[in-house]
């Protein structure tokens, strides 16, 4: 049980990921698929942030050692944590995963935009955003001769 409690964020990641994939695969609607994809991608964001989080850690903005702010931040740390790792002063969360996931979010947004744009064009070309109907229309297309240039 304690395992689940201490890892609840990872469990949330797994649930989000599976939910995203489920929506992605179970839905024939292209828009819903994009929603599933977005949820799936977002779960990675949570995953990376979880990796970076240090208990009692603060944002990676340098604090003058010995200042009152630093003392206050240090006082918030769990004594057990301090004892275990022997930290002294301010603890920062790892900023790198944040940066990484910022990039990944940008990539995800771009993908989402392209995907939705394609969905719009699909609707214009096929008159539907349902994968099944598009499949049927595509198969008909396969038996037609190609267009002449």
């Amino acid at each position: 049980m304690s395992f689940f409690l201490s890892h609840f964020n990872y469990i949330a990641v797994a649930i989000l990921m599976m939910a995203g994939l489920f929506v992605l695969f179970s839905s024939g609607n292209l828009i819903k698929r994009m929603i599933g994809l977005a949820i799936f991608q977002t779960s990675t964001g949570l995953f990376y942030i979880s990796l970076a989080k240090v208990f009692g850690g603060t944002a990676a903005i340098a604090v003058e050692p010995g200042s009152s702010e630093a003392r206050e931040l240090a006082s918030r740390l769990d004594p057990a944590y301090v004892a275990q790792y022997g930290v002294d002063g301010v603890v920062y969360s790892n900023p790198l995963p944040h940066v990484l996931i910022l990039t990944a979010i940008v990539v995800g947004v771009a993908t989402l935009a392209v995907g939705l744009a394609i969905a719009v064009r699909v609707r214009e070309a096929f008159g539907s955003v349902e994968a099944d109907e598009i499949d049927v229309l595509s198969r008909v297309e396969a038996t037609q001769p190609g267009p002449q240039a």
Partner: protein
């Protein structure tokens, strides 16, 4: 570049250049055919002078390219190759003269392609004959296969295309699956594939490796038509007679046995061959091929088919000779290759001449034709006796040497098979000519005078369409053709040509290949999804149940396998992604949020 190298270069360049030139002047038949003849003469002169030079001084060598480290495209002149090149170039000349008459007589289409491919085939033969290593030999062997494919399918009808497919599938298949791995095996074992006096492999292989390599290389050279890879040869009979002559005498099958002779003499060497058990097995197979092919030849009524089966048998003689554990066998094999080429080309030209002149392609139709075509049938008799090996013809010497070598090495099976097959040859080849001369005209009994007249004057020369009808009639001879002709053109084509495939109700996509339907369509069925879903649900339930019961200690030794969890995770994700799409269809719920007013599919499933 000294004279020897120059000769090698010219021997390759002349046919290649001829092919290009023939293509360039394709619109002018007279020029095209003159060019062919000139090229034949030039090539013959070259090969004769090559033949004269063999044995004098170092063999000339020419290295053209080195594609990979340790692999060379190189040529070297040695006696066996010079003999083969000489034979092929002389017969090409003879055959070209014959082709001009035959192709013009029958007004065949695509003649430019025909002459061009012929020249390309000669280019390949020259490459094979002068190859300095197995790699080069293989390359030109394949060039020969591809350049002769358009010739085999020359007529372009369904039968020819089917024969062409068999031809390509057997030859390419065998060379890819057997020959190429064999050659690469030699390369790995010996570090080279060069043809070496006395053999490349002795001292470098153990018996097992040697056996495997020998089997791969001998069966891989499927052009030698050793059973069970002989099927392409009889089926290639649909090709025009000059092509048959090319296949049987000039180039193709000879390239196969030549490759086997080279492998035997220069890769394995007689000493190594004599220690390999595989050589003995192959000798038995060859002996079996000799006898079986002769027996089958006796049963064939179609003359070209009978000749084809005879070729299968005769080739096995050469294969046997190559595998006899004695150098004498190689000499006999080379001689037999030469003699058989000259004899068989005679027979095929006779068959072609008979066909062009009378339209008769079956032995039973040829009775009595000898009275109107005495010269052709005399030639046929000579060729037949030569193949059989009766004195005073050349075939006698090669057979004598062969049987002597077989006795000398105590290969009784081989010797017996050769003797039996010669006797059978007497039964199936000689009577063709003899009956033609001494029987009454076959058609007197079956055909009315109009058909007979057409047969005599040469229906094919006069009337292209009737000619193609002759060819299209698969069996049944004149009577059937006559009845077809009486029923008119439409009935004719219906009776003999392919019936267009009917539309069948299909599981797959429209127009999909039936085999594809068979292989893949089951995945599209509804039942399949249901079963899959049910099975997976049951599996999941069982797994969950097991989870409760089982402890998490490593229950099987599988868990201890290195990387078990990695692989497990990989497979699970792979399956999840894979099964996603079909699952999507199963899990979808009916949805009714569509705007039905705009006439779209408002769905209620």
């Amino acid at each position: 570049m000294n004279t020897g190298e120059l000769l090698i270069f010219l021997a390759l360049a002349v046919p290649l250049f001829a092919a290009a030139a023939i293509y360039a002047v394709g619109r002018m038949p007279d020029v095209r055919e003159t060019l062919t003849i000139i090229a034949c003469i030039a090539l013959s002169v070259i090969t004769i002078s090559m033949f004269m030079r063999v044995g004098a001084g170092d063999p000339p060598t020419l290295t053209v390219a080195r594609p990979l480290a340790g692999l060379e495209i190189a040529f070297r002149l040695e006696p066996l190759g010079a003999l083969f090149a000489l034979m092929a170039s002389l017969l090409w000349g003879v055959n070209s003269l014959f082709s001009v008459g035959y192709m013009r007589g029958k007004r065949e289409a695509n003649q430019t392609r025909f002459y061009m491919c012929f020249a390309l085939a000669m280019f390949a033969v020259m490459g094979i004959a002068m190859a300095a290593n197995l790699f080069t030999l293989f390359i030109f062997y394949e060039v020969l296969t591809f350049s002769t494919y358009p010739l085999v399918t020359h007529t372009g009808d369904a039968r020819a295309r089917a024969a062409g497919r068999v031809y390509l599938a057997t030859l390419v298949g065998a060379s890819l699956v057997l020959f190429l791995p064999g050659i690469i095996g030699v390369q790995i074992v010996a570090g080279s594939t060069a043809f070496t006096q006395g053999g490349l492999l002795p001292g470098r292989v153990d018996a097992t490796t040697g056996d495997i390599l020998l089997l791969l290389l001998v069966f891989g050279a499927a052009k030698a038509a050793l059973m069970p890879l002989h099927g392409w040869l009889p089926s290639a009979m649909v090709a025009p007679a000059p092509v048959s002559a090319l296949l049987h005498a000039v180039a193709v099958v000879k390239a196969g046995v030549f490759a086997i002779l080279k492998v035997s003499a220069y890769i394995f060497g007689p000493d190594l061959i004599s220690t390999l058990p595989a050589a003995t097995w192959l000798l038995w197979i060859a002996a079996g091929t000799i006898v079986i092919a002769s027996v089958i030849a006796m049963t064939k009524d179609d003359l070209k088919s009978r000749l084809a089966w005879s070729t299968v048998g005769q080739l096995a003689y050469v294969t046997s000779a190559a595998l006899l554990p004695a150098a004498a066998g190689l000499v006999a094999g080379g001689l037999h290759m030469l003699v058989h080429a000259f004899a068989k080309i005679t027979l095929f030209m006779c068959a072609g001449a008979i066909y062009v002149a009378t339209g008769a392609s079956k032995v039973s139709e040829m009775r009595g034709l000898g009275r109107s075509m005495p010269i052709v049938f005399s030639c046929f008799l000579i060729g037949a006796l030569c193949v059989i090996g009766l004195p005073p013809f050349a075939g006698m010497w090669s057979k004598f040497l062969l049987i002597k070598a077989a006795f000398g090495t105590r290969e009784w099976f081989t010797a017996a098979a050769m003797v039996i097959s010669s006797l059978l040859g007497l039964l199936y080849l000689a009577p063709v000519a003899l009956r033609a001369c001494w029987s009454r005209l076959a058609m007197d009994r079956h055909a009315p005078s109009s058909v007979r007249r057409r047969a005599r004057t040469g229906c094919c020369g006069a009337d292209d369409h009737s000619c193609s009808m002759c060819r299209a009639v698969p069996a049944g001879g004149w009577r059937r053709q006559l009845s077809c002709a009486n029923r008119g053109e439409g009935a004719m084509s219906e009776g003999t040509q392919d019936v267009a495939p009917k539309e069948k109700p299909q599981l797959g996509e429209p127009g999909e290949h039936p085999l594809s339907v068979l292989l893949f369509s089951w995945m599209r069925g509804k039942l399949f999804f249901r079963l899959l879903m049910a099975g997976l649900s049951a599996l999941g339930a069982v797994l969950i149940a097991l989870e409760v019961v089982l402890s998490h200690r490593p229950v099987t030794s599988l868990v201890n396998m290195p990387g078990f969890f990695g692989i497990f995770g990989f497979l699970a994700f792979g399956i999840a992604v894979l099964s996603g799409w079909p699952f999507g269809k199963l899990m979808r719920r009916p949805e009714d949020y569509y705007d039905t007013r705009s006439g779209e599919a408002g769905r209620d499933r």
